[in-house]
């Protein structure tokens, strides 16, 4: 019982920590490249709207990066404090992957982020651009290594078990495990979509506040165009990812579809309340044959059911159904909301091109084309990437339970022997800190947007009251 409590609390704590961590890499992975784009546009055109865009978004980047780093450090201690069994069993595989992440990616980012953030006037332009590119590349590299590890936990291969400990037999099989390409592509696209909607949403917010500067137009268009371009690719990648999962973790797909019995003509459920005790769904609303069509491209394609994954004695060998079923729907629903919004916005802006853009002709999109409701809708959608990403990870990770490493070790084998009250204490501590930081983070970004909209971006007129202007000019890292 004691161990169970510790197990449950440790799981909640791990989920809380990783959910908090992932929010910020999701932003920095793509925002680094977007900043590089702004920086290169500035270098190429000399147009200072790109510089203004760079200066605004580099602050968001710096903030997100710091949040990512400190929550990431927490992550690397979690393995030892709460999951010692994980490294003891699969450390020979997870170890080198994590080590390569630190050695190749983290140091690269950490060393060059200083030059990227504070080096603009200290180093020549080429070095500043190189530093920005290296930071962007570094975030992509950390994504790669960590996704390799995570994918290996879902579709392990290239190892043998000796005395209960995994030993690597082929590193190329470990790194290029079957689900890695799908997961990596899907995650990187998720990051770019998150940033597209963040950039578009914050720019829309500034627009609503009356900001008509040229940089806000440029970033709004960049965000919407990027989103409209990437979302269909993401949906395609998600579909392929699902087919890959069907092959390797059919029990997860069964839970995602809420399908109990293996068979043909399975509907695509839009709504249902899976009832694990009765092993059936209540209040089903679905599209006939939908799941069979999506997964097997055939109306009478056979879809695996959860009842195939039950031990002799009746204990389920599949993940808890409701959380997987619902997080999957939240992700896909958000994806289609993104599609609808970004395409209609892009279309309306494109239709009104060549007009209004501060009376400068030759633009390929005009922000004035956007009707008010659409601009307002972009603002809350700034956080849609976070919602979809978290929902996607919950689908993936909860869908792997009870396994920690599919077919190799279960989650309860890894947990530390720490007293439950202690875990409870730290869990409450983390949650309180994370909640406060999340509020502060969103609040500060909204504040930066409002400040920029007031045209007070220049620190010299930052503090209009009293004679503090000089102090403001010294504001470090601002």
């Amino acid at each position: 019982m004691d161990v169970l409590d510790t197990l449950l609390l440790s799981r909640i704590q791990f989920a809380a920590n990783i959910s908090f961590h992932i929010l910020f890499p999701t932003i920095t992975i793509a925002l680094g490249w977007v900043l590089l784009f702004f920086r290169l546009r500035f270098a190429a055109t000399g147009d200072d709207k790109w510089m203004a865009a760079y200066r605004f978004w580099v602050k968001v980047f710096a903030l997100s990066f710091a949040m990512g780093v400190v929550s990431g450090i927490t992550m690397s201690f979690q393995f030892g404090t709460n999951w010692p069994g994980f490294m003891e069993t699969v450390g020979n595989i997870a170890g080198p992957l994590l080590a390569y992440e630190v050695l190749t990616a983290f140091f690269l980012e950490a060393a060059f982020v200083g030059i990227m953030l504070f080096g603009f006037s200290r180093v020549p332009a080429w070095l500043h651009i190189t530093a920005t590119a290296l930071v962007a590349f570094g975030t992509l590299l950390s994504t790669f290594w960590i996704i390799v590890l995570n994918s290996w936990m879902h579709t392990p291969q290239g190892f043998e078990m000796i005395d209960g400990v995994a030993h690597a037999t082929s590193w190329s099989e470990i790194i290029f495990n079957p689900s890695m390409p799908y997961r990596f592509a899907h995650m990187v696209l998720a990051s770019f979509l998150t940033v597209s909607f963040l950039v578009a949403g914050v720019s829309a917010f500034r627009w609503i506040l009356g900001d008509r500067s040229r940089d806000v137009r440029a970033t709004l268009k960049t965000g919407v165009a990027m989103a409209a371009l990437l979302i269909p690719i993401q949906i395609l990648a998600g579909d392929m990812h699902g087919l890959n999962t069907l092959e390797h973790q059919p029990q997860k797909v069964a839970a995602m579809e809420g399908n109990w019995d293996t068979g043909p003509n399975v509907p695509l459920l839009l709504f249902a309340l899976p009832d694990e005790a009765a092993r059936e769904n209540r209040f089903e609303i679905g599209i006939p044959n939908g799941a069979s069509l999506i997964l097997k491209h055939h109306a009478d394609g056979v879809v695996p059911g959860l009842n195939d994954f039950v031990a002799e004695d009746g204990t389920p060998l599949h993940p808890p159904v409701s959380p997987v079923f619902w997080s999957f729907r939240v992700m896909v629903g958000t994806g289609f909301a993104m599609l609808a919004l970004s395409w209609s916005a892009a279309f309306l802006m494109w239709r009104r091109r060549d007009r209004h853009e501060g009376r400068i002709k030759g633009h390929w999109m005009a922000v004035e084309g956007l009707p008010k409701p659409l601009i307002w809708a972009l603002v809350p959608m700034a956080l849609s990437g976070w919602v979809a990403t978290l929902a996607g990870w919950y689908t993936t990770e909860i869908g792997r339970q009870p396994w920690l490493v599919q077919g190799v070790m279960t989650t309860d084998m890894a947990v530390a022997d720490v007293p439950a009250p202690m875990v409870m204490g730290t869990l409450v501590g983390y949650l309180a800190v994370y909640a406060a930081l999340l509020i502060a983070y969103v609040g500060v970004i909204a504040y930066l947007a409002r400040k920029a909209a007031r045209g007070a971006d220049d620190p010299a007129n930052d503090m209009t009251h009293s004679g503090k202007a000089q102090v403001a000019a010294l504001n470090p890292a601002e």
């Binding site: 949040m67 400190v70 393995f79 030892g80 450390g91 050695l103 980012e109 060393a111 601002e478």
Partner: protein, 337 residues
């Protein structure tokens, strides 16, 4: 001390212990100075505080990455030890992480939040640095006590917590002597003078306690003829302390001569003390319980990492130096342009 280089199961754990030791040392010196600057933070005037932040701004992230590397190496090379040590130190690790979170984000927030919130983030920056340093000192003390948890060992750990914290403040002050000028530099000299005692007391306390706690360590130090060359370590530390003491009494020198020296000497002092500690515990990774050979991961996995490390670590050192060179000179305000 040297392993058998013809046998991978023998020299690989040794190589990883050295690599891990190196990254802990680099971490203690580098993050030591920026944590120290955080600890000294409330002692300065608001306009000086911005300069202090400026002196560590481009570096703190890379400095902390050495901690990630150190834990990472412990995790990957000695997984069993990693589990034992971190689950024993569960609460101090938690305190340290919360401290690191607080200071890392406060650093960014204080410059971006609205003005009336700035004071709050400043306080958090100080508190985070303080808690991190105290927690690390506490863990050091418990480790020296063989990870035993009794009233006495807690007392000792509480002492080392204070010593390490003031020690970080000390190396932070010497960093500020190097990176600042005028009134702030004068203050930094003052701070360095006032905190030198803690470095001496800390090194002294740990040097006395380690051989007393473990007979094995006692024998390692006090057998003939090793004791003769081992005497060099305390002599060297003594010499360095003496130099610091004399130097700090005369600083700052005209035209800012030698302003780099106190920081260099204190780094040397930290390294010497650390070397002594490493000698005491080698070959144990969990004191008197688990050696690096018993705790090591499979040789083939270690080899994969080591090959990468041979290429990457020199590169890391090179571009870290590049960053320090680019941001050399006196600290000014930091701007994103």
């Amino acid at each position: 001390m040297l392993p058998d280089f013809s046998n991978p199961a023998d020299w690989l754990p040794w190589a990883f212990a050295s690599l891990m030791g190196l990254s802990i040392l680099v971490y203690v010196v580098l993050d030591g100075f920026d944590l120290g600057v955080g600890i000294l933070f409330p002692l300065a005037e608001p306009h000086e505080q911005d300069r202090m932040i400026g002196s560590i701004g481009p570096f703190w992230d890379a400095n902390e990455t050495w901690l990630v590397l150190a834990v990472g190496l412990l995790l990957v090379a000695f997984p069993t030890a990693h589990g034992i040590i971190l689950s024993t130190l569960y609460l101090p690790v938690f305190a340290m992480l919360i401290g690191l979170i607080a200071r890392g984000v406060a650093f960014e927030f204080r410059a971006k939040a609205r003005t009336r919130h700035k004071a709050l983030w400043n306080r958090l920056f100080f508190a985070g640095s303080l808690v991190t340093a105290l927690a690390q000192g506490f863990m050091l003390g418990l480790y020296v006590m063989g990870l035993e948890q009794t009233a006495q060992t807690y007392l000792f750990a509480a002492l080392t917590a204070v010593f390490l914290t003031v020690g970080y403040a000390f190396i932070g002050a010497t960093w500020l002597i190097l990176k600042t000028s005028d009134a702030l530099q004068l203050k930094a000299v003052q701070w360095a003078r006032q905190s030198l005692w803690a470095v001496i007391a800390g090194i002294g306390a740990i040097s006395l306690a380690t051989p007393l706690v473990s007979a094995r360590i006692f024998d390692k130090w006090f057998t003939f003829p090793e004791v003769l060359w081992l005497l060099l370590l305390p002599l060297l530390s003594g010499g360095l302390v003496l130099m610091l003491w004399r130097l700090l009494r005369r600083m700052p020198l005209p035209s800012d001569r030698l302003s780099w020296l106190p920081f260099a000497i204190s780094s040397g002092l930290f390294a010497t003390a650390y070397l002594g500690l490493a000698y005491s515990f080698y070959p144990y990774v969990v004191p008197d319980r688990l050696t690096i050979y018993e705790a090591a991961a499979a040789p083939e996995s270690l080899l994969i990492i080591l090959i990468g490390a041979c290429f990457v670590v020199p590169t890391i050192i090179a571009y870290s130096i590049l960053a320090y060179v680019i941001f050399r000179g006196k600290a000014t305000e930091l701007r994103y342009e």
